[in-house]
Symmetry: C2
C-alpha cells in the first residue's frame, strides 16, 4: 500500500475515534438514531463540518448536510456520505468511516488550495440502521422520494410516530418534497466491507459492482401442541419438524443458486421460534424468517418458488398447516454506476492500491441514492469480516486509502462530469 | 359399557368438579403445588377424607394420606392415589381423578358394609407435576427414598428452598425417613390416558404395562454470528443449520426405532433457541432439548448413540462446534406388576368393560411407587388425547368405570395377597 496519500490519515482516524467515544457507556458502541446520544454525535459532527468551512444544515428528511460551494454551482453537486447511527452494541466504523472520510476529503481539498467546479456535499444520512421505528435508511429514503406516509406512521418507543421523531431531530415530515434532490450528479460512499473477501485476498479496496436486493419472508407452521410422551409419532402434528426441514431447504437451495454463478446469492434463516417451547410438549407452532439477498432478482424468484414448494411439502409430511408464507419486505438490487466505478478503479490504480470489483451483500444508503443519481461505493477491509459488534475493526491505513481513492475520483469526476455536461449542451 | 357400577358415579364426578373450582380464576385450571390455592384444595380434600371415615394426616414428605384400618393391620396396606396439583392452565382431571376415585372407592366399600383385611390408604402425592422448584413427583420420591439433599436445596419463587417449601405445606424435610414405607403391599393409580389410543379404539380402560423412562438431552451448537448479507455460504458457521438437521435426525431415528416394535418409543425436540435471533445475522448459537421416552432402555441407548453420531456429523457439515451434548435427566422405565395387572384385567372383564394393555408415555407417581411395592395403573379415555390444557376432558362414565375396576381389584387383592402372605408364612 502507498503511504504518501493526498490526505491526513491521522486526522481522519482521530475523527472516527472521537465519534466512537459518543456511545452508551454500558454497551459500546451504541449511538442509536433519534436518541440524545445520536443528536450529541451530530452536534459534534456539525461543528467539524463548520470548522472545515462547510455550510451546514439538516434537510427535511433529517439528513445532516455540509456544503462547499463550487466555482460553477450550476454544474450541480458531487455528494459523499454515509451514516453516523449504529446498531445496538455495534462498532466504531460502520457508517461513521464514510462520513469522516467525506469530511477529511473536503479538508484536504481546501488545504491543497483546490477549488472544484462542482459543489461538494458531505451527507450524514438519518437512521441507516434499522431504527426503533422498524425502518432503515430513513434519510436516504427521504432524499430519494421513498419515504411515504405509511412509513411515517410507524411507531417506536413510547408510541412516538416516526413522523414525530423526524420532527424532533430537525426534519420536517410535512415538507419532505424539499429533501428530494435532482441536482446531485454523483454519489460516493466509503464503507467497511463487513465481509472477509478483501482481507483474505490482501486487497486494499473493493469497488462495489452492485448492492444486493433483500427479500424477507416469514413462514409460520401451525401444528398441534400434544403431549410428548403419550402422542405416538404417527399421530403428531409437529410444527418444528416442518420448520427444521425448511431450514435445510433454505440452505440447500441457496447453495445451489450461489454455485451456478456468476451472480451473488445468499439466504439465511436467522430467526426461528417454537411454541410452547417446553421439553415435554410437541411443538404446536413454529415461525421462521428467511433473508435472501442477490444481485440478480431472477435468482430470488427461483429461490422463492423452490422454498414455497418445499415448505409446503414439509408441512404435508409433518401433517401441519403452513399457516403463512409472507413477504415482509422486498428491495431490488442496485447496480453501481459504471462511470463512477471506472473513476474509482483508476484512482486506486493511480494510488498504487490493490483493488477488485465485488458485490455488496449488505444494504447501504447508496442503494437508495442510485435511484436519483449515479452512485458507487468503495469498500475497505475490516478484520475477520466482523461488523455490527464491538470488535469491528478497520485500520487507520485502510480507511485512509479508501478515502484517498474517493478524493482522487472526486477530482477526476469534477472534470469529466463537467466535460460531459458541456458536450451535452452543445 | 356396563352402567350398574359398584360405586356412585355422580358423587365421584361432583368431587372432581368441586376440586376443579379451586383454581386461579384468571387461568383455569391452575392449582400449582405449594401455593395457597393448592393448600385450599388439600383442606377441602382432607375434609372429604375425614367425612368418609378416614384417619387423615400429612406425612413428612408432604403427602396427604387418608387411612381406613383393616381387620388385620399386620397384613399391610393397599394404597390408591394420585395427585391434586396441576400444571399452569391445566385440566380438571389429570391427577385429581385418581385421588377422587380412591375416595369414592372407600365410601363405596363402607356403604356396602365391606370391611377389608388390609388397611386402605388414599394418597394425594405432593407436587407430581414439575414444580416451581424444578422437580416433579416430590411426594412419591419422598415416600420411596428418592428425595435427596440436593433436591431439597433447589430454589423456587423468591429464593425459597424446596426444603422450606416442604415444611410450609406440612412436611418435615429433616425426618424424611419417616415417610419411607415398607408396609404397602400394592399401589393402584387411576389416571386419564393423556393420549388417544383408548378413544380411537373405543376402549373403556387401559391396563398399563409399563411407565416410560424419560431421557432428556441438551445439545448446543456454537458457530459464528456473521452478517447474513456479506458472508458467503461456504464461509459460514451457521449453528441453526446443524440444529435443524439434528431435529430431522431425532424424528427419523425415533420413527425407525418405534417401527421396530414391540416396545414403545417416542422422541421430541420441544425446545429450540437461536442466538442472536435477528433476521440479518447468521445464527451463532443454537440450543435444543430432546425428550426421548421408552419402555425399553435398550432403545434409548440406540437412540442416543445415533443422535450423538449424527449431530456430530451435522456440526462438521455446518462447520460449527457441538459445544454440548449433555444428559439433563435419565429416568428408568417402570414395569407395572403382573399380578396387579392381572387383577385389574379380570376386574374389567367381570364388569363387562373393554380393556387393553397399553404403555404409559407420561411419567406418574406409580413409577416411583414401583420401587417399593407392586404397582399398577388404570387409564381412562380422555377426549382427543388432550391434557395439560383447559380443554382436557374425560366423561363421568369413563372415570366411574375406571374407579370400579380398581374397586373390584382391591377386593380381589385383599383376598389374594392375604392368601399369598399365609402361604409364604407356612
Amino acid at each position: 500500500m502507498r503511504t504518501n496519500l493526498p490526505l491526513n490519515a491521522d486526522r481522519l482516524w482521530a475523527d472516527i475515534m472521537a465519534l466512537a467515544e459518543i456511545t452508551d457507556p454500558a454497551r459500546p458502541y451504541t449511538r442509536r438514531s433519534f436518541t440524545p446520544l445520536f443528536l450529541e454525535g451530530r452536534t459534534w459532527l456539525a461543528q467539524c463540518f463548520a470548522a472545515a468551512g462547510l455550510a451546514t444544515r439538516i434537510d427535511t428528511a433529517g439528513n445532516l448536510i455540509g456544503r462547499l460551494e463550487g466555482r460553477n454551482p450550476a454544474l450541480g453537486v458531487i455528494a459523499i456520505g454515509s451514516h453516523s447511527d449504529t446498531v445496538p452494541s455495534g462498532g466504531r466504523f460502520d457508517g461513521i468511516a464514510g462520513v469522516a472520510a467525506g469530511l477529511e476529503i473536503v479538508r484536504a481539498l481546501r488545504e491543497s488550495g483546490t477549488r472544484l467546479d462542482h459543489t461538494i456535499e458531505i451527507i450524514d444520512f438519518l437512521a441507516e440502521e434499522p431504527s426503533e421505528y422498524g425502518l432503515s435508511c430513513v434519510g436516504s429514503r427521504g432524499m430519494t422520494g421513498a419515504l411515504d406516509g405509511g412509513m411515517l406512521s410507524l411507531t417506536g418507543p413510547g408510541g412516538e410516530t416516526l413522523r414525530d421523531a423526524l420532527r424532533r431531530v430537525g426534519g420536517d415530515p410535512d415538507q419532505l418534497d424539499q429533501a428530494r434532490r435532482d441536482d446531485i450528479k454523483a454519489f460516493l460512499e466509503l464503507h467497511i466491507e463487513q465481509g472477509i473477501v478483501l482481507e483474505s485476498r490482501s486487497l486494499d479496496v473493493g469497488i462495489v459492482t452492485s448492492i444486493v436486493g433483500i427479500r424477507r419472508i416469514e413462514i409460520v407452521f401451525q401444528g398441534e401442541a400434544d403431549h410428548a410422551g403419550t402422542t405416538p409419532l404417527g399421530l403428531r402434528h409437529d410444527a418444528l419438524v416442518a420448520a427444521a426441514a425448511t431450514v435445510s431447504s433454505v440452505r440447500g437451495v441457496a447453495e445451489k443458486l450461489a454455485a451456478e454463478g456468476p451472480d451473488y446469492f445468499v439466504a439465511t434463516v436467522g430467526i426461528l421460534t417454537v411454541e410452547p417451547s417446553a421439553s415435554n410438549v410437541v411443538p404446536g407452532r413454529s415461525r421462521l424468517v428467511i433473508d435472501a439477498r442477490t444481485t440478480n432478482p431472477a435468482l430470488t424468484k427461483s429461490f422463492v418458488e423452490a422454498i414455497d414448494r418445499e415448505s409446503l411439502e414439509h408441512a404435508a409430511a409433518a401433517r401441519v398447516q403452513r399457516a403463512s408464507f409472507e413477504t415482509l419486505s422486498d428491495g431490488a438490487p442496485a447496480a453501481c454506476d459504471p462511470e463512477l466505478r471506472s473513476a474509482l478503479r483508476e484512482s486506486a490504480r493511480d494510488l498504487g492500491l490493490e483493488e477488485s470489483d465485488l458485490p455488496s451483500g449488505a444494504g447501504h444508503d447508496a442503494a437508495f441514492m442510485s435511484r436519483i443519481c449515479p452512485s458507487a461505493m468503495v469498500f475497505v477491509p475490516c478484520r475477520a469480516g466482523k461488523s455490527h459488534a464491538p470488535e469491528e475493526w478497520a485500520s487507520r491505513e485502510a480507511i485512509a486509502a479508501g478515502a484517498a481513492v474517493i478524493y482522487q475520483a472526486v477530482m477526476a469526476l469534477d472534470r469529466s462530469i463537467a466535460q460531459k455536461g458541456r458536450a451535452a449542451a452543445r
